[in-house]
Protein backbone atom coordinates (compact mmCIF):
# COMPACT_ATOMS: atom_id res chain seq x y z
CA UNK A 1 0.00 0.00 0.00
CA UNK A 2 1.47 3.27 -1.02
CA UNK A 3 -0.94 6.13 -0.72
CA UNK A 4 0.26 9.32 -2.19
CA UNK A 5 -0.40 12.19 0.15
CA UNK A 6 -2.76 14.85 -1.08
CA UNK A 7 -1.93 17.21 1.76
CA UNK A 8 1.05 19.03 3.12
CA UNK A 9 1.82 19.01 6.79
CA UNK A 10 3.03 22.16 8.42
CA UNK A 11 2.57 24.33 11.45
CA UNK A 12 0.38 27.33 10.97
CA UNK A 13 -2.04 29.21 13.16
CA UNK A 14 -3.20 31.61 10.48
CA UNK A 15 -6.80 30.69 9.63
CA UNK A 16 -6.60 32.52 6.31
CA UNK A 17 -3.57 30.62 5.05
CA UNK A 18 -4.50 27.25 6.46
CA UNK A 19 -8.29 27.16 6.74
CA UNK A 20 -8.36 23.48 7.70
CA UNK A 21 -6.19 22.58 10.64
CA UNK A 22 -5.72 19.56 12.83
CA UNK A 23 -4.88 19.97 16.46
CA UNK A 24 -2.16 17.61 17.68
CA UNK A 25 -2.28 17.13 21.40
CA UNK A 26 1.10 16.18 22.73
CA UNK A 27 1.87 15.13 26.27
CA UNK A 28 1.54 17.70 29.04
CA UNK A 29 -0.76 19.89 26.95
CA UNK A 30 -4.40 19.70 27.83
CA UNK A 31 -6.96 19.54 25.05
CA UNK A 32 -8.39 22.91 25.92
CA UNK A 33 -9.34 25.15 23.07
CA UNK A 34 -8.51 28.79 23.57
CA UNK A 35 -11.46 30.55 22.10
CA UNK A 36 -11.62 34.28 21.85
CA UNK A 37 -14.42 35.29 24.15
CA UNK A 38 -16.76 37.88 22.82
CA UNK A 39 -19.79 39.61 24.16
CA UNK A 40 -22.92 37.96 22.78
CA UNK A 41 -26.62 38.73 22.74
CA UNK A 42 -29.48 36.26 23.07
CA UNK A 43 -31.22 35.75 19.74
CA UNK A 44 -34.50 35.71 21.66
CA UNK A 45 -35.54 38.40 22.30
CA UNK A 46 -32.79 40.89 21.48
CA UNK A 47 -31.70 39.98 17.93
CA UNK A 48 -35.19 38.97 16.80
CA UNK A 49 -36.49 42.31 18.08
CA UNK A 50 -33.94 44.16 15.96
CA UNK A 51 -34.80 42.04 12.90
CA UNK A 52 -38.52 42.74 13.36
CA UNK A 53 -37.85 46.48 13.68
CA UNK A 54 -35.71 46.41 10.52
CA UNK A 55 -38.45 44.59 8.58
CA UNK A 56 -41.11 46.99 9.94
CA UNK A 57 -39.11 50.03 8.82
CA UNK A 58 -38.73 48.41 5.40
CA UNK A 59 -42.47 47.72 5.26
CA UNK A 60 -43.27 51.34 6.15
CA UNK A 61 -40.94 52.62 3.42
CA UNK A 62 -42.38 50.24 0.81
CA UNK A 63 -45.97 51.11 1.78
CA UNK A 64 -45.18 54.82 1.33
CA UNK A 65 -43.66 54.10 -2.08
CA UNK A 66 -46.69 51.96 -3.03
CA UNK A 67 -49.04 54.79 -2.00
CA UNK A 68 -47.06 57.43 -3.88
CA UNK A 69 -46.14 55.67 -7.12
CA UNK A 70 -48.35 53.49 -9.31
CA UNK A 71 -46.96 50.36 -10.91
CA UNK A 72 -46.90 50.73 -14.70
CA UNK A 73 -49.72 49.08 -16.65
CA UNK A 74 -49.72 49.65 -20.38
CA UNK A 75 -52.19 48.57 -23.05
CA UNK A 76 -53.20 44.96 -23.66
CA UNK A 77 -50.38 42.77 -24.99
CA UNK A 78 -50.32 43.01 -28.78
CA UNK A 79 -47.92 40.69 -30.64
CA UNK A 80 -48.40 42.68 -33.86
CA UNK A 81 -47.25 45.97 -32.37
CA UNK A 82 -43.63 46.11 -31.18
CA UNK A 83 -42.84 49.06 -28.92
CA UNK A 84 -39.56 50.81 -29.68
CA UNK A 85 -37.46 50.27 -27.68
CA UNK A 86 -38.63 46.93 -26.22
CA UNK A 87 -36.84 46.77 -22.89
CA UNK A 88 -36.34 43.85 -20.52
CA UNK A 89 -36.78 44.36 -16.72
CA UNK A 90 -34.16 46.80 -15.35
CA UNK A 91 -31.90 44.09 -13.83
CA UNK A 92 -31.47 42.55 -17.30
CA UNK A 93 -30.78 45.86 -19.06
CA UNK A 94 -27.03 45.46 -18.52
CA UNK A 95 -27.35 42.21 -20.46
CA UNK A 96 -29.49 43.83 -23.12
CA UNK A 97 -26.88 46.58 -23.48
CA UNK A 98 -24.24 43.89 -24.12
CA UNK A 99 -26.59 42.23 -26.66
CA UNK A 100 -26.39 45.48 -28.59
CA UNK A 101 -22.67 44.86 -29.23
CA UNK A 102 -22.17 41.12 -29.22
CA UNK A 103 -24.01 38.16 -30.77
CA UNK A 104 -26.64 36.63 -28.43
CA UNK A 105 -24.58 33.50 -27.81
CA UNK A 106 -21.78 35.65 -26.37
CA UNK A 107 -23.71 38.37 -24.52
CA UNK A 108 -26.79 36.32 -23.61
CA UNK A 109 -25.38 32.88 -22.82
CA UNK A 110 -21.59 32.87 -22.46
CA UNK A 111 -21.13 36.09 -20.47
CA UNK A 112 -23.87 35.52 -17.84
CA UNK A 113 -22.92 31.83 -17.64
CA UNK A 114 -19.33 32.74 -16.89
CA UNK A 115 -20.43 35.33 -14.32
CA UNK A 116 -22.51 32.72 -12.45
CA UNK A 117 -19.68 30.18 -12.56
CA UNK A 118 -17.20 32.83 -11.41
CA UNK A 119 -19.46 33.77 -8.48
CA UNK A 120 -19.85 30.15 -7.42
CA UNK A 121 -16.14 29.31 -7.45
CA UNK A 122 -14.96 32.45 -5.60
CA UNK A 123 -14.71 30.77 -2.18
CA UNK A 124 -12.97 27.66 -3.55
CA UNK A 125 -9.73 29.41 -4.46
CA UNK A 126 -7.06 29.60 -1.81
CA UNK A 127 -5.81 32.82 -3.38
CA UNK A 128 -9.11 34.41 -2.33
CA UNK A 129 -8.88 32.96 1.15
CA UNK A 130 -5.36 34.23 1.75
CA UNK A 131 -6.53 37.56 0.31
CA UNK A 132 -3.12 39.18 0.03
CA UNK A 133 -2.56 42.34 -1.97
CA UNK A 134 -2.36 41.30 -5.60
CA UNK A 135 0.96 43.03 -6.32
CA UNK A 136 2.67 42.48 -2.97
CA UNK A 137 4.34 39.21 -3.91
CA UNK A 138 6.12 38.55 -7.21
CA UNK A 139 5.33 42.12 -8.23
CA UNK A 140 7.10 42.42 -11.61
CA UNK A 141 5.68 39.21 -13.06
CA UNK A 142 2.16 39.94 -11.84
CA UNK A 143 2.30 43.50 -13.17
CA UNK A 144 3.30 42.13 -16.59
CA UNK A 145 0.37 39.69 -16.58
CA UNK A 146 -1.97 42.45 -15.45
CA UNK A 147 -0.81 44.86 -18.18
CA UNK A 148 -1.19 42.15 -20.84
CA UNK A 149 -4.69 41.21 -19.63
CA UNK A 150 -5.84 44.83 -19.25
CA UNK A 151 -4.55 45.89 -22.68
CA UNK A 152 -6.10 42.80 -24.33
CA UNK A 153 -9.48 43.49 -22.67
CA UNK A 154 -9.42 47.19 -23.58
CA UNK A 155 -8.46 46.51 -27.21
CA UNK A 156 -11.23 43.89 -27.40
CA UNK A 157 -13.84 46.34 -26.04
CA UNK A 158 -12.50 49.10 -28.31
CA UNK A 159 -12.70 46.96 -31.45
CA UNK A 160 -16.34 46.10 -30.71
CA UNK A 161 -17.05 49.81 -29.95
CA UNK A 162 -18.18 48.95 -26.41
CA UNK A 163 -17.09 52.33 -25.07
CA UNK A 164 -19.66 52.16 -22.25
CA UNK A 165 -17.82 49.14 -20.83
CA UNK A 166 -14.38 50.44 -21.80
CA UNK A 167 -14.55 53.56 -19.61
CA UNK A 168 -15.21 51.68 -16.32
CA UNK A 169 -12.50 49.17 -17.29
CA UNK A 170 -9.97 51.98 -17.80
CA UNK A 171 -10.91 53.57 -14.47
CA UNK A 172 -10.50 50.29 -12.54
CA UNK A 173 -7.22 49.60 -14.43
CA UNK A 174 -5.94 53.05 -13.41
CA UNK A 175 -6.60 52.24 -9.75
CA UNK A 176 -4.88 48.86 -10.18
CA UNK A 177 -1.82 50.55 -11.70
CA UNK A 178 -1.78 52.89 -8.69
CA UNK A 179 -2.03 49.82 -6.44
CA UNK A 180 0.95 48.31 -8.30
CA UNK A 181 2.97 51.43 -7.56
CA UNK A 182 1.98 51.39 -3.88
CA UNK A 183 2.97 49.20 -0.98
CA UNK A 184 1.86 48.60 2.59
CA UNK A 185 4.48 51.20 3.59
CA UNK A 186 3.11 53.93 1.35
CA UNK A 187 2.55 57.24 3.05
CA UNK A 188 -1.04 57.81 2.02
CA UNK A 189 -3.73 55.71 3.69
CA UNK A 190 -5.57 55.37 0.38
CA UNK A 191 -2.53 53.87 -1.38
CA UNK A 192 -1.92 51.44 1.50
CA UNK A 193 -5.60 50.47 1.16
CA UNK A 194 -5.23 49.89 -2.60
CA UNK A 195 -2.02 47.90 -2.15
CA UNK A 196 -3.65 45.54 0.35
CA UNK A 197 -6.49 44.53 -1.99
CA UNK A 198 -6.44 41.01 -3.46
CA UNK A 199 -7.20 40.03 -7.05
CA UNK A 200 -10.76 38.93 -6.20
CA UNK A 201 -11.47 42.43 -4.85
CA UNK A 202 -10.41 44.01 -8.14
CA UNK A 203 -12.37 41.60 -10.33
CA UNK A 204 -15.52 41.95 -8.20
CA UNK A 205 -15.23 45.74 -8.08
CA UNK A 206 -14.80 45.85 -11.85
CA UNK A 207 -17.87 43.61 -12.22
CA UNK A 208 -19.91 45.78 -9.82
CA UNK A 209 -18.84 48.96 -11.62
CA UNK A 210 -19.73 47.53 -15.04
CA UNK A 211 -23.05 46.19 -13.69
CA UNK A 212 -24.06 49.63 -12.37
CA UNK A 213 -22.87 51.55 -15.47
CA UNK A 214 -24.41 49.17 -18.04
CA UNK A 215 -27.71 48.85 -16.13
CA UNK A 216 -27.95 52.64 -15.72
CA UNK A 217 -27.21 53.22 -19.41
CA UNK A 218 -29.71 50.57 -20.51
CA UNK A 219 -32.36 52.05 -18.21
CA UNK A 220 -31.93 55.79 -18.71
CA UNK A 221 -29.87 56.42 -21.85
CA UNK A 222 -31.37 54.13 -24.48
CA UNK A 223 -34.24 55.06 -26.75
CA UNK A 224 -35.72 53.99 -30.11
CA UNK A 225 -33.53 51.52 -31.98
CA UNK A 226 -31.35 51.34 -28.86
CA UNK A 227 -29.90 54.72 -29.79
CA UNK A 228 -28.33 57.01 -27.22
CA UNK A 229 -30.83 59.41 -25.64
CA UNK A 230 -30.63 61.68 -22.62
CA UNK A 231 -32.93 60.81 -19.72
CA UNK A 232 -34.75 64.17 -20.02
CA UNK A 233 -35.52 63.90 -23.74
CA UNK A 234 -38.93 62.52 -24.69
CA UNK A 235 -39.25 60.06 -27.50
Amino acid sequence: MSDSKDFVTGVDSNAKKAPRRVVFITRRISAQVKAVEEETLQTFPEVLFRAVVAIEVLAVVLVWIALAFNAPLEGLADPSHTPNPAKAPWYFLGLQEMLHYFPPVVAGVLAPGLVVIALIIIPYFNINIEAEGVFLKDRDRRLKIFYAAAVALCVFLFLFHVYVALVPTLIVAAFMILAGQSSLNSRSTFRRYLASKPLSFWIMSWFLFELIVLTAIGTFFRGPGWSWVWPWTRY
Binding site: F44, I65, P79, P104, V109, I122, F201
Partner: protein, 261 residues
Protein backbone atom coordinates in the same frame (compact mmCIF):
# COMPACT_ATOMS: atom_id res chain seq x y z
CA UNK B 1 -51.64 46.46 42.74
CA UNK B 2 -53.02 46.34 39.23
CA UNK B 3 -51.34 43.89 36.95
CA UNK B 4 -49.15 45.24 34.16
CA UNK B 5 -49.54 44.13 30.56
CA UNK B 6 -46.34 42.13 30.89
CA UNK B 7 -47.77 40.25 33.89
CA UNK B 8 -50.95 39.44 31.99
CA UNK B 9 -48.83 38.18 29.13
CA UNK B 10 -46.73 36.09 31.50
CA UNK B 11 -49.92 34.61 32.96
CA UNK B 12 -51.01 33.70 29.45
CA UNK B 13 -47.65 32.10 28.74
CA UNK B 14 -47.99 30.02 31.88
CA UNK B 15 -51.34 28.52 30.90
CA UNK B 16 -51.45 24.82 30.10
CA UNK B 17 -52.45 25.38 26.47
CA UNK B 18 -49.71 27.92 25.79
CA UNK B 19 -47.11 25.68 27.46
CA UNK B 20 -48.26 22.78 25.29
CA UNK B 21 -47.43 24.85 22.21
CA UNK B 22 -44.39 26.86 23.36
CA UNK B 23 -42.48 24.82 25.88
CA UNK B 24 -39.82 27.29 26.93
CA UNK B 25 -41.93 28.89 29.71
CA UNK B 26 -41.97 32.40 31.13
CA UNK B 27 -38.48 32.72 32.53
CA UNK B 28 -36.02 35.34 31.36
CA UNK B 29 -32.94 33.30 32.14
CA UNK B 30 -30.38 32.47 29.46
CA UNK B 31 -31.67 28.90 29.49
CA UNK B 32 -35.27 29.96 28.87
CA UNK B 33 -34.26 32.29 26.11
CA UNK B 34 -32.10 29.65 24.47
CA UNK B 35 -34.97 27.17 24.65
CA UNK B 36 -37.26 29.73 23.00
CA UNK B 37 -35.02 29.45 19.95
CA UNK B 38 -34.15 25.76 20.12
CA UNK B 39 -37.68 24.50 20.64
CA UNK B 40 -39.25 26.40 17.78
CA UNK B 41 -39.16 24.65 14.44
CA UNK B 42 -38.62 27.90 12.55
CA UNK B 43 -36.36 29.72 14.99
CA UNK B 44 -34.12 26.73 15.63
CA UNK B 45 -32.56 27.44 12.23
CA UNK B 46 -30.81 30.32 14.01
CA UNK B 47 -28.19 30.15 16.71
CA UNK B 48 -29.25 31.03 20.25
CA UNK B 49 -26.61 33.72 20.64
CA UNK B 50 -25.18 36.32 18.29
CA UNK B 51 -21.99 38.31 18.73
CA UNK B 52 -22.91 41.79 19.91
CA UNK B 53 -20.91 43.57 17.21
CA UNK B 54 -22.69 41.57 14.49
CA UNK B 55 -26.06 43.15 15.34
CA UNK B 56 -24.71 46.66 14.78
CA UNK B 57 -26.04 48.18 11.57
CA UNK B 58 -22.57 48.67 10.07
CA UNK B 59 -21.68 44.96 10.24
CA UNK B 60 -24.35 43.71 7.83
CA UNK B 61 -26.55 46.73 7.04
CA UNK B 62 -29.29 44.15 7.84
CA UNK B 63 -29.40 43.38 4.11
CA UNK B 64 -30.19 39.68 4.62
CA UNK B 65 -32.94 40.50 7.11
CA UNK B 66 -34.39 43.13 4.77
CA UNK B 67 -34.34 40.68 1.87
CA UNK B 68 -36.35 38.25 4.01
CA UNK B 69 -38.69 41.17 4.78
CA UNK B 70 -39.34 41.84 1.09
CA UNK B 71 -39.89 38.11 0.54
CA UNK B 72 -42.50 37.98 3.31
CA UNK B 73 -44.29 41.07 1.95
CA UNK B 74 -44.23 39.49 -1.53
CA UNK B 75 -45.70 36.21 -0.28
CA UNK B 76 -48.53 37.98 1.55
CA UNK B 77 -49.39 40.46 -1.22
CA UNK B 78 -48.86 37.74 -3.84
CA UNK B 79 -51.41 35.40 -2.24
CA UNK B 80 -53.93 38.25 -2.05
CA UNK B 81 -53.30 39.13 -5.70
CA UNK B 82 -53.88 35.49 -6.67
CA UNK B 83 -57.45 35.80 -5.38
CA UNK B 84 -58.23 38.31 -8.14
CA UNK B 85 -56.22 36.85 -11.00
CA UNK B 86 -56.86 34.34 -13.79
CA UNK B 87 -53.81 33.20 -15.75
CA UNK B 88 -55.56 33.24 -19.12
CA UNK B 89 -55.55 35.48 -22.20
CA UNK B 90 -56.96 38.13 -22.24
CA UNK B 91 -58.63 37.77 -18.80
CA UNK B 92 -55.24 38.35 -17.08
CA UNK B 93 -55.10 41.88 -18.42
CA UNK B 94 -58.72 42.55 -17.44
CA UNK B 95 -57.88 41.32 -13.92
CA UNK B 96 -54.91 43.69 -13.76
CA UNK B 97 -57.24 46.52 -14.82
CA UNK B 98 -59.82 45.44 -12.21
CA UNK B 99 -57.12 45.49 -9.55
CA UNK B 100 -56.37 49.05 -10.62
CA UNK B 101 -59.94 50.38 -10.74
CA UNK B 102 -62.44 47.96 -9.14
CA UNK B 103 -60.92 45.91 -6.29
CA UNK B 104 -60.70 47.71 -2.93
CA UNK B 105 -57.06 48.63 -2.35
CA UNK B 106 -56.22 46.55 -5.43
CA UNK B 107 -54.05 49.30 -6.83
CA UNK B 108 -52.15 49.56 -3.54
CA UNK B 109 -51.77 45.77 -3.40
CA UNK B 110 -50.28 45.58 -6.88
CA UNK B 111 -48.05 48.61 -6.30
CA UNK B 112 -46.71 47.12 -3.08
CA UNK B 113 -46.06 43.75 -4.75
CA UNK B 114 -44.29 45.34 -7.71
CA UNK B 115 -42.09 47.76 -5.76
CA UNK B 116 -41.24 45.10 -3.18
CA UNK B 117 -40.16 42.81 -6.02
CA UNK B 118 -37.81 45.47 -7.38
CA UNK B 119 -36.57 46.11 -3.84
CA UNK B 120 -35.90 42.39 -3.34
CA UNK B 121 -33.79 42.11 -6.50
CA UNK B 122 -31.83 45.19 -5.45
CA UNK B 123 -31.39 43.95 -1.85
CA UNK B 124 -30.22 40.49 -2.96
CA UNK B 125 -27.49 42.08 -5.09
CA UNK B 126 -26.57 44.49 -2.30
CA UNK B 127 -26.43 41.59 0.20
CA UNK B 128 -24.13 39.63 -2.11
CA UNK B 129 -21.67 42.50 -2.55
CA UNK B 130 -21.71 43.33 1.17
CA UNK B 131 -20.92 39.69 2.03
CA UNK B 132 -18.15 39.66 -0.57
CA UNK B 133 -16.47 42.86 0.59
CA UNK B 134 -16.54 41.67 4.20
CA UNK B 135 -14.88 38.42 3.16
CA UNK B 136 -17.72 36.42 4.72
CA UNK B 137 -17.72 33.91 1.84
CA UNK B 138 -14.46 32.29 3.01
CA UNK B 139 -14.33 28.77 4.48
CA UNK B 140 -16.16 27.38 6.33
CA UNK B 141 -18.91 29.48 4.75
CA UNK B 142 -18.14 28.69 1.11
CA UNK B 143 -21.18 26.48 0.52
CA UNK B 144 -23.53 29.04 2.02
CA UNK B 145 -22.15 31.52 -0.52
CA UNK B 146 -23.07 29.03 -3.25
CA UNK B 147 -26.60 28.72 -1.80
CA UNK B 148 -26.71 32.51 -1.88
CA UNK B 149 -25.83 32.52 -5.59
CA UNK B 150 -28.63 29.99 -6.20
CA UNK B 151 -31.04 32.24 -4.28
CA UNK B 152 -29.94 35.19 -6.43
CA UNK B 153 -30.82 33.23 -9.56
CA UNK B 154 -34.18 32.14 -8.06
CA UNK B 155 -34.94 35.77 -7.16
CA UNK B 156 -34.21 36.90 -10.72
CA UNK B 157 -36.40 34.10 -12.11
CA UNK B 158 -39.20 34.96 -9.68
CA UNK B 159 -39.12 38.59 -10.72
CA UNK B 160 -38.84 37.68 -14.39
CA UNK B 161 -41.77 35.23 -14.37
CA UNK B 162 -43.90 37.74 -12.46
CA UNK B 163 -43.16 40.37 -15.08
CA UNK B 164 -45.35 38.60 -17.66
CA UNK B 165 -48.44 38.15 -15.50
CA UNK B 166 -50.19 41.55 -16.08
CA UNK B 167 -50.20 40.66 -19.79
CA UNK B 168 -49.76 44.25 -20.96
CA UNK B 169 -47.41 45.53 -23.67
CA UNK B 170 -44.59 46.07 -21.16
CA UNK B 171 -44.87 42.48 -19.89
CA UNK B 172 -45.26 40.86 -23.30
CA UNK B 173 -42.27 42.51 -24.94
CA UNK B 174 -39.96 42.32 -21.93
CA UNK B 175 -40.53 38.56 -21.83
CA UNK B 176 -40.21 38.29 -25.63
CA UNK B 177 -36.82 40.07 -25.50
CA UNK B 178 -35.68 37.98 -22.54
CA UNK B 179 -36.85 34.60 -23.77
CA UNK B 180 -35.24 35.14 -27.17
CA UNK B 181 -31.89 35.02 -25.38
CA UNK B 182 -32.66 31.40 -24.46
CA UNK B 183 -32.80 30.61 -28.19
CA UNK B 184 -29.13 31.61 -28.44
CA UNK B 185 -27.99 28.62 -26.34
CA UNK B 186 -25.98 26.39 -28.70
CA UNK B 187 -27.70 23.20 -29.92
CA UNK B 188 -30.54 23.18 -27.35
CA UNK B 189 -31.55 26.84 -27.68
CA UNK B 190 -34.81 26.42 -29.56
CA UNK B 191 -35.85 23.46 -27.43
CA UNK B 192 -35.25 25.42 -24.20
CA UNK B 193 -37.15 28.36 -25.68
CA UNK B 194 -40.06 26.06 -26.55
CA UNK B 195 -40.02 24.39 -23.14
CA UNK B 196 -40.00 27.75 -21.35
CA UNK B 197 -42.88 29.26 -23.33
CA UNK B 198 -44.88 26.15 -24.21
CA UNK B 199 -44.75 27.36 -27.82
CA UNK B 200 -42.62 29.25 -30.28
CA UNK B 201 -43.68 32.69 -29.05
CA UNK B 202 -45.07 34.29 -25.91
CA UNK B 203 -48.70 33.15 -25.82
CA UNK B 204 -51.38 31.83 -23.46
CA UNK B 205 -49.33 28.70 -22.72
CA UNK B 206 -46.37 30.86 -21.70
CA UNK B 207 -48.62 32.85 -19.36
CA UNK B 208 -49.82 29.66 -17.66
CA UNK B 209 -46.28 28.28 -17.34
CA UNK B 210 -44.95 31.53 -15.93
CA UNK B 211 -47.90 31.64 -13.50
CA UNK B 212 -47.20 28.13 -12.20
CA UNK B 213 -43.48 28.89 -11.93
CA UNK B 214 -44.12 32.25 -10.26
CA UNK B 215 -46.75 31.13 -7.74
CA UNK B 216 -45.75 27.54 -6.94
CA UNK B 217 -42.45 26.12 -8.12
CA UNK B 218 -40.11 29.06 -7.62
CA UNK B 219 -41.48 30.25 -4.22
CA UNK B 220 -41.30 26.70 -2.82
CA UNK B 221 -37.76 26.29 -4.17
CA UNK B 222 -36.85 29.67 -2.69
CA UNK B 223 -38.23 28.71 0.75
CA UNK B 224 -36.29 25.43 0.62
CA UNK B 225 -33.00 27.20 -0.08
CA UNK B 226 -33.72 30.08 2.32
CA UNK B 227 -34.13 27.51 5.11
CA UNK B 228 -30.76 25.94 4.25
CA UNK B 229 -29.19 29.41 3.93
CA UNK B 230 -30.29 30.39 7.47
CA UNK B 231 -29.45 27.03 9.02
CA UNK B 232 -25.96 27.11 7.51
CA UNK B 233 -25.25 30.45 9.21
CA UNK B 234 -25.55 28.66 12.55
CA UNK B 235 -23.73 25.54 11.38
CA UNK B 236 -20.85 27.58 9.95
CA UNK B 237 -20.16 29.40 13.20
CA UNK B 238 -22.59 32.30 13.17
CA UNK B 239 -22.44 35.56 11.26
CA UNK B 240 -18.95 36.17 9.98
CA UNK B 241 -16.98 38.36 12.35
CA UNK B 242 -13.87 39.91 10.89
CA UNK B 243 -10.85 38.81 12.97
CA UNK B 244 -9.04 42.13 12.61
CA UNK B 245 -11.84 44.23 14.04
CA UNK B 246 -11.34 46.08 17.35
CA UNK B 247 -13.64 43.84 19.42
CA UNK B 248 -11.66 40.69 18.60
CA UNK B 249 -8.33 42.38 19.04
CA UNK B 250 -9.37 43.70 22.44
CA UNK B 251 -10.65 40.27 23.49
CA UNK B 252 -7.40 38.66 22.34
CA UNK B 253 -5.32 41.23 24.19
CA UNK B 254 -7.35 40.55 27.34
CA UNK B 255 -6.85 36.79 26.92
CA UNK B 256 -3.10 37.23 26.50
CA UNK B 257 -3.03 39.51 29.53
CA UNK B 258 -4.80 36.86 31.64
CA UNK B 259 -2.31 34.24 30.52
CA UNK B 260 0.64 36.40 31.48
CA UNK B 261 -0.57 36.77 35.07
Amino acid sequence: MAKTVTQYFDDLRDTRVWRSIFRSGTGTSTLHRSLAIQQNVFLHLFSTKVRRRMVSVGATWYLGTLTLGTFLILVITGILLMLYYHPSVPQAYADAKDLQFVVSSGLFLRNLHRWSAHAMVFLVFAHMFKVFYRGAYRPPREFNWVIGVILLLITLLLSYTGYLLPWDQLAFWAITVGSNIASAVPLLGNRIHFLLLGGNSVNANALLRFYVLHCMILPLTAIFFIAIHFWRIRKDGGLYAHPSEPATLRARAAAVGKEAQ
